[in-house]
Structures are given as structure tokens and as C-alpha cells.
Symmetry: C2
Amino acid sequence: MTVTIYDVAREANVSMATVSRVVNGNQNVKPATRKKVLEVIERLEYRPNAVARGLASKKTTTVGVIIPDISNNIYAEAARGIEDIATMYRYNIILANSDQNEEKELTLLDTMLGKQVDGIVMMSDAVTPKLHQSMEHSPVPIVLAGSVDESNQFASVNIDYFQASYEAVQMLIENGHKRIAFVSGPLQYTINSKFKLEAYKKAIIDANLELDENLIVSDDDTYDSGIEAWETLSALDNPPTAFFAGSDELAIGLIHGAQDSGRKVPDEIEVISFENSKLARMVRPQLTSVVFPLYDIGAVAMRLLTKIMNKETIDNQSVIIPHRIEKRKSVK
Amino acid sequence: MTVTIYDVAREANVSMATVSRVVNGNQNVKPATRKKVLEVIERLEYRPNAVARGLASKKTTTVGVIIPDISNNIYAEAARGIEDIATMYRYNIILANSDQNEEKELTLLDTMLGKQVDGIVMMSDAVTPKLHQSMEHSPVPIVLAGSVDESNQFASVNIDYFQASYEAVQMLIENGHKRIAFVSGPLQYTINSKFKLEAYKKAIIDANLELDENLIVSDDDTYDSGIEAWETLSALDNPPTAFFAGSDELAIGLIHGAQDSGRKVPDEIEVISFENSKLARMVRPQLTSVVFPLYDIGAVAMRLLTKIMNKETIDNQSVIIPHRIEKRKSVK
DNA sequence: TTGAAAGCGCTAACAC
DNA sequence: GTGTTAGCGCTTTCAA
């Protein structure tokens, strides 16, 4: 029914081996033979079976991608970067959502390894010990994208979250603010707890400002949480006049909260975000934001993975991409 | 090196067939035997090779997903719906972006079929004749998600775009507007040209309003296009007072354009959108919008695909999901 | 430059 | 209940 390599071999009066050679671009085939085989392939509409090929060659030219949630813009952006580079190197991608749930992450890892992927790009906001251990046992290379493994044992691609956050808070400090809040996503996420928060604290302390725990709020990274954060923080006896938001949605929530209670941004209230998604330009005032270049991170991670799969020597497993702050109108 | 079914058979003193049976949950295995095998599997950390399994069984438990662009929220939402249901039925997903480019769509189809996917979910804003033909030749089932095939030859999941659009325009008409603009995404997309636009025209004509071609603007579905559309339309001698926007970004661009030139929404200008992404709640005023339930469409499409792959009888290949309009503040 | 043949790791009759 | 065996469709030595 389906045409196999054997069928074209027979029709072309050559052996399977020869057909295999022309299909795989092996040069050791006489041009005339190649031509003949190619014609038969065309005529029979032969399409190589990648599964059989994978079994024989032990390579599937597909990589696994485990991300928390594809419907979240930040991860979708990274996924696009990963897929673009994968395509460029002729890999396909098996994509799955973990919802940042350790058990799912473990199952997915196992499933993908069962499917014999040649490598894995992983995004996880919290590399737990168990996950870490499973990853160590992987027979194929894994690279972390926009995800921090504190043991520094895996290949990874990130920006300098601490430095970027420090600069963001500093910008607010330089504008004269004494009461600066940090409105964060989940503190279970390594990046939030170990970098953004720590950088916030250090910037405050370095500037001899009072570090007030009441000014640190954490919930999820959503718009509604931003609005809520505004409400609780603005109700303080001595409310903040500036905000360092962990995400664009949080920042927008904060801004809308402020505006809805008649405060002017940035005249009275200043907000700096950490993300710079396309949302940043779609609010008034437009967001000043640390740029978290997810597309690039995904792309670089995938490129790194191809190198490792290809056994090229890697100079640096822990890639740090340069960051910058995009200045717009939510900060003076 | 890697442990195979043969290794566990040997260690457990049973045949490969028996191991295969326990791995596949076949009931014809004595409990004691099963237990013994399971222990060996655990001890040896045996992980079945899905590629070998796929070659032998001719099923890969993976489906292909071809979408225009995963970094676009609308498609990401659908992808999430697809993946959730796929996971539920133990399928994995090979995801690829077509950029709505016919050639890429064709190549991707071919690649995925080569990888022996068991089925395909396809999103394409324009099913061209060539694409149509390739899809017809697919040896595995294909279902269209949020995509219209006018021949109605393939399984598909959609909403009633025409009716939904008609209702949207009608809402504006009922609010007394005489000059209503249609600000659309690309008119090459079937949904835009055959449904939204046609419904707009019919609603205008049915209400005995003047159908003015100057009020029909098409570019891409972006925020910036929305702003531009505002600029060109508001510069008209007899500018529109209401807008039917093809997407949330377009609607937000329109609103910001209006607000930036001092117009009040919805007091002076009313806008209704077609999408209802989470952006709809993140603008002031919040968007009134036709809801385009992409997550559901993806989920239902995948569910439909599982049924077809499973050779269940399908009562209706062309599923139409109910639609509704979410009323918020951009329309009075 | 080409062919023969031995797997790759598993499933699925079929036999016992 | 369990084992034997013949593939699944291809790659990859090894010879010629």
C-alpha cells in the first residue's frame, strides 16, 4: 500500500542501499543512477518513513520542548524562537505544557525520552531537586531556556536578571523616590526570589533607603494581581510612589489601578516593568520596561542544543544574553 | 547500553512477548508473572522505545499541529486547547509554524506525514487549492481548527463567523450609528473576506444605511494598523462614529487613536471587536467583543481528531461552536 | 559505485 | 498464559 524504499529499489533496478544513498544525499552514487532513482521516487511519490529511519539510525531529528504554558505570551515567544532555529537545522519539535508542575515535568521528560528525541529545550521557573535529578539521567542533551539551575550543571541561556533588576530599581531611585514597591509574580520562581527580589533589596539598601517588607507584594503575574497590588499598596499609611513590576501585566494592572483612583502616571506614580512584551506599547502611558528577550533566548538555546547534539565543543554552557531597559513613558 | 525489551525478558525469565504484554497492559498475563516483569522493569529502568513501537505498530501516538504563528496569542490559545486534549488522550504534538505561507504549509504537511503522525490539526487562514489537494492526499485524518475550507470536504471546527459579525455590526446600528467602519485584518483570509466583510455589508444594507467603500479598511491585525486606520478614517469628510474591528489589537489601536485626538469612547466613538482575548479587559474602556473561543476550538478539533483516528463514526464533520458577544464598555 | 545482509526494538499473529 | 517468529522500513557495515 504505502510505497517503501524497497519498491523504489525494485522499480529502479538498484538495491535498497542505493536508494538510501540518494535519499540521504550520499555522493557515492553515479549521476545516472541517481537520476534514475530520483525519477522513480517522483513517480511513485515515495516518502521516506522517518520512524523506520529513526529506529535504524538512532536519530529522530526531533527535539522535545517543555514549557510551562504556551498560551502565555512570554513562553510562546520563546517557543517561536526555538522552533525557528529548530526548523533552520531541520529538526521538528514536540511541544508540551508543564503548567510549572513538577510531576508533569517529570512525566513529560520521560515521554519525550521514550520518543527518542535527540535533545530537549526546557523552560522551568523552578528546577526542583527531583527534576534536576531526572535531567541528569537524560541520555540526550538538555538546555534550559530562560530558566535558572543554581547548580549550573546544565547548559542554559538567560539574561543577568539580578543586574537588570538592580538597574530598574536604581532608575526609580534616581528619580527621587523613597518609597518603592516590588510587585512580583510567584516567589517560588527562582528568578523572582533569587534575582529580582534580591536585586530590589540591594538597590534599596545601597541607596540608604528603608527596606520595608510591606512594599514587597507577590501573587501571580496577571493583570488582576496588578490591580489588587495597587489597592493594597495604595492603602498603606505611607504608600509607595514608584513600582518595580515583575511583568507587563502586573505593570498595566498597577497603572490602571492608579489611574482609576485619579493618580497620574508618570507624574505622580512611576512604574517600571520587567518583560517588554508587545503589551508594553499598548497602554497609556507606554511602559518603561526591562527587556526580557524571550525570542532570542529560545533561539539561542536551540542553537546551543544543536551544537551539543552535534558534539561540537562548547566554550560556555551558561550563556548570558545582554539586557537593556526600554525607556518609554511610565517613568519620567 | 540502553536496556531493551529483550533485556528485561531475559532477566525476568520470560519471553519478549510477555514483557510486551505487561508494558501494554494486556490482561492475558498471570499476576505473578506481571509482578516479576514489573520488578525487572523497575530495576533495569527500562523505558520502551516509542520509535520501535511505532514502526511495529504503525501508530506513533503523535499528531501534527500546523499553525500560522505560535507567538500570536490567538493561535497560542488554540494550541493550548489542542495540546490539553491531546495529552488527555495520550498523544503528543509536533508543533510547527507556517507563517500562513503556502509553501511552508505544504512542506510541513509532508514532513509530518513522513514522521508518521497519526493525524493532523491544521490552522490556516487561507486554504489554497494546492493545500487543499495535498490535504486530500493525506493518508491520515486532518481536521481544520478555526479555519474555513469552502469545499467543506474536511472535518473542521469553527463558529458562525458570518452571524457573529452580523450581530456585532447590528449592535452598532441599534445604537444609532449611520457611519460604521469595518477595520479588518488581511482580506486574503477567508474569514475576513467571506464572512466578516460580507456580514458587515449585509448588516449595513439591511438597515438601509449607505454602504461606503471608504469605510472599509484592511491591513494586518496589529495595534499599529488600528492606530493608522483611525487616522485615515477620522480624516474623512464624513468620518465614522463607530467601528467594527477584526481583532482586539485593531480595536485597541482604534481606541487609542480616538483618545489621543481627544475623542471619548464610548460617548462619541463606539468600537466593537472580534476576538475577546485577555487584552479586551486590559484597556480603558474595556472592549465589547465577539468572542472567538480559540481554546475551545482547538480542544474540540483535537477531540474530533481522536474520534476520527479511532474510526468512530462522526455525525457531523463541520462543527459549529456557539458564539456570543461579551459586552463591556467600548459600546454603550 | 553498488549490493547483500544484519540489525534497530518492538508488535502481533500464531502455536502450544 | 506464554513463547516463537516474522516482520515494520530503514541505515550501515562489509564485500565486491
